[in-house]
């Protein structure tokens, strides 16, 4: 079965293209990208005014299965991913129980094969139970399909433990994904320490709680030679540390979330728990430093840290509510609204930040809009309006920091291995 994607703007920094072209897909594989292509039989999709990108990957999501299926499942989370224009997600191991064994990773892989709408790459825990005391069975998890390792959600307190972990993970050539938070220094803070913590009477965590751990992880990556990927960086100081480390040739990559790029602590004027995330929203100056890091290549990836929570958990006193916002469905629209439409970034840079950069950071299969690559394609309607209402979400949870916003642009169609996961804005098989 052939598919002709006709007359869209095809943008792929890795393939070095940005032109109005046709794309032909056959049997799940891209077989041609060029001008005035035709097919004898099959389906032709008119793509005028659309932008075609290589399949976007979100390398930081929480799918909650197993154990917290009332928040999200592999089925619902991957449908949310398709709705947001992603063809692949990497899911964090802090499920219940923690994904810290080969059999658990096998469960995720099998469950994804049976129920997922996009590709799912499991990230295994670094330490058993994410307790930070003893290595999890990393080799077993690699054998079952884990693509990287992380104690996301808490980090590893002991530098000695972290060093052992990096040394061991290096053996498999995979990335150690760091959640950078010095817990005693963060001191139970629920917002950034500074203006908002003072004004709102909320416990704050200082930027230094992240930065001391970023510095430690970089030093350990230099010591061990392990690939280091820094999750959800939020401060100007972290960007400086990564920029310096990259200049020294350290094997380090990093990601930022849309909420740290497009919101800052000034948004917290009421006690709305949907604005409670970890790391917390920082200052406007931090936000500007993150955007500068995107522009100069210090930051490799935009990843959402999609963290679904049920209303009964989230609608509590700010200090009691769990951390996190959903992100899969709003990320691309936010990027278009705040970076593309403003002329800050072009689509080629977005193909790097949302496809090639994140894939390279975790060593996921490369996707290009070139003959011979799998047909993982994100088709964007940059002029579409998105009114972010609770009903608009496909995710099982609605705890979005962006609810109520009016955004520009969204994915209209998503192909995963030549199969539609999103068609005309509707998730297939929802």
């Amino acid at each position: 079965m052939a598919l002709l994607l006709k007359g869209g703007r095809v943008v792929d920094a890795a393939a070095g293209i940005d032109a109005v072209l046709d794309v032909v897909v056959r049997d799940g594989v891209i077989v041609g990208v060029g001008e005035d292509l035709t097919i004898e039989k099959g389906q032709t999709i008119e793509c005028a005014e659309k932008v075609l990108l290589p399949g976007l990957a979100d390398i930081h999501v929480h799918l909650r299965e197993p154990g917290q299926e009332y928040k999200e499942t592999i089925a619902t989370g991957t449908r949310a991913a398709a709705h947001g224009g992603f063809t692949a997600v990497a899911c964090m191991p802090n499920t219940k129980p923690i994904a810290d064994s080969g059999s658990h990773v096998r469960f995720i892989v099998d469950r994804a094969a049976a129920t997922a709408a996009v590709r799912v790459y499991p990230i295994g825990a670094i330490t058993a139970g994410q307790a930070g005391e003893q290595l999890a069975e990393i080799g077993d998890m690699v054998a079952e399909g884990a693509v990287a390792f992380s104690d996301d959600g808490r980090g590893i307190a002991s530098a000695g433990m972290a060093r052992v972990a990096m040394d061991y993970i290096k053996r498999f050539g995979m990335a150690y994904v760091a959640h950078c938070e010095d817990v005693p220094l963060a001191a139970g803070g629920v917002v950034n320490e500074g203006v908002v913590s003072t004004r709102m009477g909320l416990p704050g965590q200082p930027a230094a709680a992240e930065e001391v751990m970023v510095a430690r992880e970089i030093a350990l990556a230099e010591l061990t030679g392990c690939r280091l990927h820094l999750a959800h960086l939020s401060t100007a100081g972290s960007v400086v540390l990564v920029r310096d480390a990259k200049a020294r040739g350290v094997s380090v990559t990093c990601e930022v979330t849309p909420h740290h790029l497009f919101l800052d602590e000034d948004a917290i004027t009421t006690y709305d728990p949907n604005l409670k995330m970890n790391p917390p929203l920082r200052t406007a100056a931090d936000r500007e430093a993150l955007v500068a890091g995107l522009l100069d290549g210090t930051i490799d990836a935009i990843a959402t840290d999609h963290a679904p929570h049920a209303p009964h958990e989230k609608e509590l006193e700010f200090e009691l509510a769990p951390f996190g916002t959903t992100g899969l469905e709003t990320a691309l629209s936010l990027v278009n609204t705040h970076l593309i439409a403003t002329g800050t970034l072009g689509w080629a840079e977005v193909s790097n930040l949302m496809c090639h950069g994140p894939r390279a950071a975790l060593g996921l299969p490369e996707m290009r809009l070139e003959a011979g690559y799998p047909a993982d394609i994100t088709i964007v309607d940059p002029e579409a309006r998105v009114e972010v209402t609770p009903e608009w979400f496909v995710s099982r949870s609605r705890n979005s920091a962006f609810t109520g916003q009016s955004l520009l642009g969204k994915a209209s169609d998503v192909l995963v291995g030549g199969q539609w996961a999103l068609r005309n804005g509707k998730v297939v098989g929802q």
């Binding site: 005693p184 009477g201 909320l202 416990p203 200082p206 006690y271 009964h312 200090e319 009691l320």
Partner: protein
């Protein structure tokens, strides 16, 4: 009347409204000296004391204030309520709303609880202390006490000494002092200072002895050991040596200056017994003012003016 139906934070209250509350409290304070201490002003109105944290002084003060205005007062304390069974604050609020009360005074362990209640209920809300955020009626009664003792508020220099970062009292008192033209100076070790004192509008000093001669009010805060993750100073003894108010320090204050404390006191830590019991101390005056000020707040929030003169 007040512009808001709630009293959440001192940031919401204008200087004129502060003056109105204090003047109204003054007329109520006369009632509190009578043998029959009761006015019919809020007859038929229901006032709920919703206390999620143990409190004797504040709750009793509100309770007496409500009774003196003839309101029907109800105590809803967390230990005797559904919250221990896991009910959310929102559900508690809706349950109370269904019982049609007129005013809820809420004391809660977490900042923002009064705002959550206001979203779920139609009645007036008074913040009786939320986490380490604010405690506006305490600030108002402190202003009342200062005005009574010193004859004015404008131009006063008020040293707020000690555990400022864990103090909802300071959280309300600092902005309140700014509004009335006084100068708040927060004094203590950096381990007890808020992250951004400038946001509250306070000057900062680390050396109490240097500042003492310039103060009109020395306001001592209780050290809230229970809230600190790490002990913020080496020992109580060293804290008392550097920041405790004792007689030797009291004599460094100008002769007109007063000593205040929101209670309960840690005698021997932030205040010595002889200072607490000295004539310079207006600590019991603060407690007395509390009833009149809370009567004024209830009266003004519930539109008491509709039901007759204040006193």
């Amino acid at each position: 009347m007040l512009s808001s139906k709630h009293l959440m934070t001192m940031g919401d209250v204008s200087a004129e409204e502060i003056a109105l509350i204090l003047d109204t409290a003054e007329s109520f304070s006369e009632v509190n000296q009578r043998r029959i201490k009761k006015l019919p002003t809020l007859r038929g109105r229901t006032v709920v004391n919703l206390f999620f944290e143990p409190s004797t002084r504040t709750r009793t003060s509100f309770e007496i204030a409500a009774k003196r205005l003839s309101a029907d007062g109800v105590n809803f304390s967390a230990s005797a309520s559904a919250t221990v069974k896991g009910e959310t604050l929102r559900d508690t609020a809706k349950t109370l709303a269904a019982m049609s009360c007129d005013l809820v005074i809420v004391r809660h362990k977490y900042a923002g609880a009064p705002q959550m209640l206001a979203e779920a209920m139609d009645c007036s809300i008074v913040n009786g202390g939320d986490g380490v955020h604010e405690h506006p009626t305490q600030a108002l009664l402190d202003l009342y006490t200062m005005r009574q003792a010193l004859g004015k508020l404008e131009g006063l220099r008020v040293g707020i000494v000690g555990d400022v970062c864990h103090s909802r009292v300071a959280g309300s008192l600092v902005p309140a002092l700014r509004k009335v033209g006084a100068t708040p100076i927060i004094i203590g070790p950096p381990t007890l200072m808020p992250a951004r004192p400038d946001v509250l509008g306070a000057e900062v000093a680390y050396d109490l002895d240097e500042v003492l001669p310039t103060l009109d009010v020395a306001y001592l805060l209780r050290v809230q050991f229970e809230r600190a993750a790490q002990m913020p100073f080496p020992s109580n003894r060293e804290y008392a040596t550097l920041y405790g108010m004792n007689v030797a320090r009291m004599v460094k204050l100008p002769s007109h200056a007063i000593v205040m404390h929101p209670g309960p006191m840690n005698r021997g830590v932030e205040i010595s017994a002889d200072v607490a019991d000295s004539p310079r101390s207006v600590i019991l005056g603060q407690v007395e003012s509390g009833v009149a000020v809370r009567m004024a707040v209830m009266y003004l929030l519930l539109g008491g003016a509709d039901s007759g003169a204040a006193a």
